[in-house]
């Protein structure tokens, strides 16, 4: 895939134009820098603006067309009939774009060296900025490639999806605020907080993987199972991050990273298209040790809600154990925030399963509802903060889980955490119960298919010639 994409990519007008323009601007930067000593900072600004526009806008934006072009040109079917998996297709697209970005970065290194010789720059710092810009470019490219299989309208919603990512970030920050002190970002590299930097680089790598696998699962045939890998990696990553508490890593960093990682995995899991075809069920049906794992790790929202419930329990136990080990008590406020965070993730399911039960664009609907809620939350929080007489508005809006965050940080409100905890718990339970009720026939279908596969496995006439198991007719197809 990489070979093909590179062959095509290097011939595109956008790459050629970007390359030539970048070289032109770099030469200009050198001339500006060499003109006078005072112009060094102007040249620096110009240098970084050109580079960032190229690396953070021009190159990532090409990713938007990566998988959609294969769908529109009817070539995706042809590729799926080869040995290339959806993951290799998606990763190949991203790797090709990143190779082209690397080529651009390498081409500007001589100009960076020239700027050093003209004086006025800290080379190490410049390299660090270049590294983080490149890293951000990789992340943004993964975002655009990951969302590229969606229709144009949905791709326009990527902005909204980015809002969800930002929301996860904000959740983490809100959590960290309950610990008091400055935020992680204000400490950063300057205070030598290398654990944090390392953690966020790791989280960035995880995000790149997750976004690409998310894109892959959108184009994968029903026979491919991407859910197991995505969910397990997310869970292991989240648990590993929590364990960092034991080695003395700042709690704010741990919670921010954990929420970022697990929220994305949850959102993906609860909005995924179900697949109960034999090739997906077979590995679990044959497993003698954990056959029930199919209810957690096979693709689909129906297993996604169980995954969310089980992973929440696992994370809570890890948190409690880590905190107990550190002799730090768990407060009711923290519990309320945690439950309201889960409620914020799950509550769009109420609308989706009640009003759009046959929708094939569950993720799109989810993003739309979250975007609307984010706007409503911001308005309510703003009004509640700005108008003191309406301060209680936050309290009365508690059933909206995202309001809890605003309300919990509002010291003027009627902020006994028990109210928040109760409101959030009820709302979260309802938002899980409705999809669970709708998922019951799917669990039954899974059990039936699994039983048939086991029987077939045990029967003497095993092999490709035995009869087919029909997948659930209710499953919307790709």
């Amino acid at each position: 895939m990489l070979v093909k994409e590179l062959r095509q990519g290097l011939r595109t007008n956008l790459f050629t134009t970007s390359f030539i323009l970048l070289q032109g601007f770099m030469v200009l930067t050198i001339f500006i820098g060499a003109a006078s000593e005072g112009a060094a900072s102007t040249a620096g600004g110009f240098f970084w603006t050109c580079l960032m526009v190229t690396l953070l806008i021009a190159m990532p934006i090409r990713g938007f067309n990566a998988l959609s072009s294969e769908i529109q040109n009817n070539t995706l079917d042809l590729i799926q009939l080869t040995r290339l998996s959806a993951w290799r297709i998606t990763f190949g697209k991203w790797a090709s774009l990143m190779s082209q970005t690397t080529l651009l970065v390498i081409s500007i290194l001589p100009y960076l060296a020239m700027r050093y010789f003209f004086g006025g720059i800290d080379l190490i710092q410049e390299f660090l900025i270049l590294f983080f810009t490149f890293f951000a470019s990789a992340l943004l490219t993964a975002l655009t490639v990951g969302f590229s299989p969606f229709p144009v309208l949905m791709r326009a919603f990527v902005v909204g999806a980015t809002g969800v990512l930002a929301f996860s970030w904000v959740v983490g920050l809100s959590f960290s605020r309950t610990y008091g002190g400055t935020s992680f970002f204000s400490s950063g590299i300057t205070s030598g907080n290398w654990w944090g930097v390392g953690g966020f680089v790791l989280a960035g790598l995880y995000l790149i993987y997750f976004l690409l696998d998310f894109g892959a699962s959108q184009i994968a045939s029903q026979a491919e199972n991407h859910a197991t890998r995505k969910r397990l990696i997310s869970l292991v990553f989240a648990l590993a991050v929590i364990l960092l508490l034991l080695v003395g890593v700042d709690g704010k960093i741990v919670i921010t990273l954990t929420t970022l990682v697990i929220n994305l995995a949850w959102i993906d899991a609860i909005t995924e298209r179900p697949s109960i075809v034999p090739s997906v069920i077979r590995p679990f049906a044959r497993s003698r040790i954990f056959p029930s794992l199919k209810y957690l790790l096979t693709p689909g929202w129906h297993t996604g809600i169980l995954f969310l419930a089980v992973s929440t329990c696992l994370l809570l136990v890890s948190f409690f154990l880590s905190r107990s080990f550190m002799l730090s008590p768990w407060t009711m406020k923290e519990s309320a925030m945690l439950v309201s965070m889960i409620g914020s993730i799950t509550y769009p399911l109420i609308f989706i399963h009640l009003f759009f039960p046959t929708s094939r664009q569950m993720f799109g609907l989810y993003v739309l509802i979250q975007c609307c809620t984010a706007v409503v939350t911001m308005i309510i929080a703003f009004v509640g903060d700005a108008v003191s007489s309406l301060g209680d508005i936050l309290f009365y809006c508690l059933p909206i889980p995202s309001i809890c965050f605003a309300a919990l940080t509002d010291s003027a409100g009627k902020s006994h955490p028990l109210y928040f905890l109760l409101a959030s718990s009820i709302f979260t339970l309802i938002s899980l119960a409705i999809p669970f009720w709708r998922a019951l026939p799917l669990y039954k279908e899974m059990r039936r298919n699994s039983k048939s596969l086991i029987e077939k496995n045990n029967s003497p006439s095993t092999g490709p010639d035995s009869s087919s198991i029909s997948p659930d007719p209710k499953i919307p197809n790709s």
């Binding site: 095509q8 070539t75 490709p464």
Partner: protein
């Protein structure tokens, strides 16, 4: 004692629903190895859906589908190594040459080194792509593109070829070339399932035809058996001097005659008998009635007519009222 032949394609009670729409509704058929079978049906009849399921690109709602004895639902990966798929629209890649296109698919199919080169050379020879090897795919004609697509489908030497409307949009020369290539493949022992709207072309290429309508197989048989007129009618093409309207009017009014199709200079009429005496009477009457006839000749039944007749037969069955149930003993008594 004869050994039963394993069908190359076996479809049993295939159903595929899209919401409330039954795209495929209980399709069953078998295709023996080494045969070329035409899949005929109107747009939306369920051809492409059935073919996509056979090609492992879609899942059935219900039913058993096997290619070379392997279940496509259970073992899609194994089936993929046995089939070559050519979709109705040939997807192009920009900024890519013919040889690069084949090289990409050969790599994707897992061929390496000399084997890859040999496979590519093989299909380029077969599909006569050598003169086009360095040409960009964007610049290929539709016919060249279809040849390239066929070459791509043959890279892994599949046993079964599934071709969805391969002749659509091709010029006559390209059609002849494609037909020729498919005949070579059939002689080579490949099983070919090919869909098309152009029935006459299918008749020339295929050993048998499958007619599908509203998701159901309505007829299966050879082109010859369909052309054989079992309807007890005679088709005559008549050409007149001047206005054909009179002929059409005459055909509509005359007994034993049915207008089949109006043509530019005449019409195709159907006489409801195969008796030469009656046919002769009809033709005589046509002259006596003053129609300026230039030419007439008896026609072989076209496949299109056979297809339309089958559809009409189905429609009639649908419209005809169900037979009256025999009155029960109680009713008789009453």
């Amino acid at each position: 004692m004869t050994v039963p032949v394993q069908p190359a394609i076996e479809v049993i009670d295939l159903h595929r629903n899209f919401g409330n729409l039954r795209a495929v509704d209980g399709v069953s058929f078998k295709i023996n190895p080494g045969t070329v079978v035409g899949f005929v049906g109107a747009n939306g009849a369920g051809k492409t859906t059935t073919m996509r399921i056979l090609a492992t690109l879609d899942y059935p709602t219900r039913g058993i589908i096997k290619v070379g004895g392997i279940d496509v639902v259970q073992y899609p990966a194994k089936v993929r190594s046995k089939i070559g798929w050519m979709p109705d629209s040939f997807g192009t890649y920009h900024h890519m040459t013919v040889i690069e296109y084949l090289d990409f698919f050969a790599r994707a199919l897992g061929f390496e080194g000399q084997e890859r080169a040999d496979r590519i050379a093989g299909v380029m020879d077969f599909a006569d792509l050598n003169p086009l090897s360095e040409r960009l795919i964007d610049n290929l004609s539709k016919g060249m593109g279809q040849r390239l697509c066929l070459g791509r489908a043959l890279l892994h030497d599949p046993e079964v070829l599934i071709l969805d409307e391969p002749a659509a949009g091709l010029d006559p020369k390209a059609r002849v070339e494609l037909k020729h290539l498919i005949r070579i493949l059939a002689e080579d022992g490949k099983t070919v399932l090919i869909s098309s709207h152009i029935l006459s072309e299918l008749a020339e290429m295929c050993d048998s035809l499958l007619f599908i309508n509203e998701g159901r197989i309505i007829h299966q048989g050879s082109a010859e058996s369909l052309k054989r007129d079992n309807s007890g009618t005679t088709l005559i093409q008549v050409e007149v001097h001047g206005d054909a309207g009179k002929l059409i009017e005459w055909a509509q009014m005359s007994p034993h005659v049915k207008l089949k199709e109006s043509l530019k200079k005449g019409a195709r009429i159907e006489v409801d008998s195969i008796d030469d005496r009656l046919v002769s009477e009809v033709l005589n009457r046509m002259i006596k009635d003053g129609l300026p006839v230039i030419e007439f000749h008896r026609e072989e039944r076209k496949l299109e007519d056979a297809f339309i007749d089958i559809l009409e037969e189905i429609e009639e069955k649908k419209l005809s009222p169900p037979p009256l149930a025999a009155p029960s003993s109680e009713q008789v008594e009453a």
